[in-house]
């Protein structure tokens, strides 16, 4: 299951990380090295084993469906790269 240049290109695109063409081959090699080391997991017998997603036993806690915070747009937008009057300013999405 070797990772080739096309796979790196696809994964980088999925992860939204711009990756120059000349970095794809070295990255493929690096990732293959790591994944080859990870392959040893295949040795473990996991038939019938439930995946462990959380070490906290309890289910999701519930709370009253009430507003607990909010109402201060200037606080929310204070770290925005660009904002106007409590709104985030983002690049145009729809052509």
């Amino acid at each position: 299951m070797a990772i080739d240049v096309a796979t790196v290109r696809k994964v980088a695109r999925l992860a939204r990380i711009a990756t120059p063409e000349d970095r794809l081959e070295p990255l493929a090699q690096e990732l293959n090295g790591i994944m080859a080391w990870i392959e040893q997991l295949a040795e473990v017998d996991t038939d019938g084993v439930e995946p462990l997603t959380s070490v906290v036993g309890a289910g999701a806690p519930l709370r009253d469906d009430v507003v607990t915070m909010g109402g201060d747009a200037s606080v929310i937008t204070s770290n925005a790269p660009k904002s106007v009057d409590g709104f985030f300013v983002v690049p145009k999405v729809v052509e």
Partner: protein, 490 residues
């Protein structure tokens, strides 16, 4: 002044209570120590004015007789904890200039109990690293040096700034976080005490997320008692974190100094790894002897899936990271790069804002979660994770706590492992199992190697049984009599 910075946290609080000195004096001494130690690069943001105003307020509280358990004690805060009004970056470029409008639950509890903030501490970028070299602010240098050379050594990672600052007496204690060993390995490399509590003890709210099912906060401190004091303040239920445990928090300091007579201590045979330095093997034997002497019963146990913990971790953690770090899109906060269209803006922002190790892990995480590989990698890793947790469940039928080395080596040179990701990952071979199983683990300094560098031993406890961990650690600290300090060169 140097006498004030060489105090333990407990010693300092006792001195404040006795009126031997004020928090302003204590804090000033630490501010001066930080200024004189910039060569270590442990603090990336210094907040002396805020520290002095918090110290003055503390002195006023103490004069009124309403001092909290940590009142007036100056601490360092790992730059993964959001601090209101003080830059929080996770040592990344993507968050440079980010000034939170809110305070993390853990730090708010420290301030509630009267502690004073000295500033923000360096770490591996987004806590991804074992040597502090992935920080966008440059690596921290370990205050410890080998007697054989003046080479700059790593303080470990990711909480390298926290560990170095405590070891160099720049603060009385520090916050840290641990996803695969990031509290305990740096503690071992710097001759300090660090504990990762049971998953869910400390709220993750306001802590920059890396791998949410593994991340836990904890302290790095000078002594076991100091660590217990800090952890008691840091723990507690928080409705803002859905995985926060709604259980009472005992005063952990009560367990330090308690007899360990009759406790069963498990020694896992699988932790005798290939190429482990003889000195670490010897230290482990010393630890066993100390506990026997203190009346513990030593039992051999088996944790058969130990060798699969790191490979499983390097699927689970990157998978969660790729999801958690998707939020850095350049829209609501952080860096925004230019691009011809929205996708290019995202891609360029993340290419410029993330370092190489962070990108590597996001790519691995995206790959193992992508269509066609999810079952083969991610689901498989979660099943192996259960096997690892079951290993511990079985062990607890035979013992009350487990003793292991903390790390497979002493501190290594900066740059030595940075070109080999897997060699770097292997630093966490003894610590990562407790993250996967959610168990408490504490590292304490137990001796020096032949080059005069500190080595640590780890105590692993049952879920929510930090008390026993502290009792065992207290007994070992007493037996080890470790009181070496890094010789000052900075």
């Amino acid at each position: 002044m140097s006498t004030l910075t060489s105090l333990t946290l407990k010693g300092a609080i006792d001195g404040l209570e006795a009126g031997d000195f004020t928090s302003v004096e204590l804090t000033t001494a630490h501010i001066e120590a930080i200024e004189a130690a910039r060569a270590l690069n442990a603090f990336i943001v210094e907040t002396p004015e805020q520290a002095l105003s918090m110290a003055a307020a503390s002195d006023a509280r103490r004069a009124l007789g309403v001092a909290g358990p940590l009142d007036g004690a100056p601490l360092g805060i790992k730059d993964l904890f959001c601090t209101k009004g003080v830059q929080t970056t996770a040592c990344s470029n993507i968050l440079k200039g980010f000034v939170p409008e809110y305070e993390s639950t853990v730090t708010s509890q420290l301030w509630r109990d009267g502690a004073v903030m000295l500033g923000k501490l360096n770490l591996d970028q987004f806590a991804m690293g074992s040597s502090n070299e992935t920080s966008a602010f440059g690596p921290v240098t370990n205050p410890w040096r080998s007697t054989a050379s003046n080479k700059a050594l790593t303080p470990g990672g990711s909480s390298g700034g926290s560990a170095a600052a405590v070891a160099a007496d720049l603060c009385l204690g520090a916050t840290a976080t641990d996803t695969g060993g990031s509290i305990r390995q740096p503690a071992a490399f710097t001759g300090t005490v660090g504990i990762k509590p049971t998953y869910g003890r400390c709220s993750r709210w306001g802590v920059v997320a890396f791998a949410s099912s593994l991340d836990q906060a904890g302290p790095i401190a000078k002594t076991v008692e100091d660590a217990a004091l800090l952890l008691t303040s840091m723990c507690g239920h928080d409705p803002k974190d859905s995985t926060s445990l709604d259980v009472p928090v005992p005063d952990f300091t009560q367990f330090v100094g308690k007899s360990v007579k009759g406790l069963k201590i498990g020694i896992p045979k699988e932790y005798r790894v290939d190429n482990m330095p003889a000195e670490i093997e010897k230290l482990w034997e010393d630890g066993i002897a100390w506990l026997k002497e203190a009346g513990c019963e030593i039992v051999d146990i088996s944790l058969p899936h130990t060798k699969y913990a790191l490979p499983a971790y390097y699927i689970v953690a990157p998978a969660e990271a790729s999801s958690n770090l998707a939020r850095y899109d350049g829209m609501r906060y952080g860096l925004r790069a230019q691009g011809g269209n929205l996708t290019e803006v995202y891609e360029n922002t993340r290419a410029e804002g993330f370092g190489d190790e962070v990108k590597r892990r996001i790519l691995i995480g995206t790959y193992v979660l992508s269509a066609g590989y999810y079952d083969a990698y991610y689901l498989k890793a979660l099943k192996v994770r259960r096997r690892i947790a079951e290993d511990f469940d079985k062990a607890w039928e035979k013992c009350d706590a487990i003793l292991t080395p903390t790390a497979p080596s002493a501190a290594f040179g900066l740059g030595e492992n940075s070109n080999d990701p897997i060699a770097m990952y292997l630093n966490d071979v003894f610590t990562v199992t407790t993250n996967l199983a959610g168990l408490p683990g504490l590292s304490l300094p137990a001796g020096l190697d032949s080059n005069g560098l500190p080595l640590g031993l780890q105590i692993i406890g049952k879920p929510l049984d930090e008390g026993t961990v502290f009792s065992v650690a207290g007994a070992m600290e007493k037996a080890a009599g470790f009181n070496a300090k890094a010789a000052r060169w900075w």
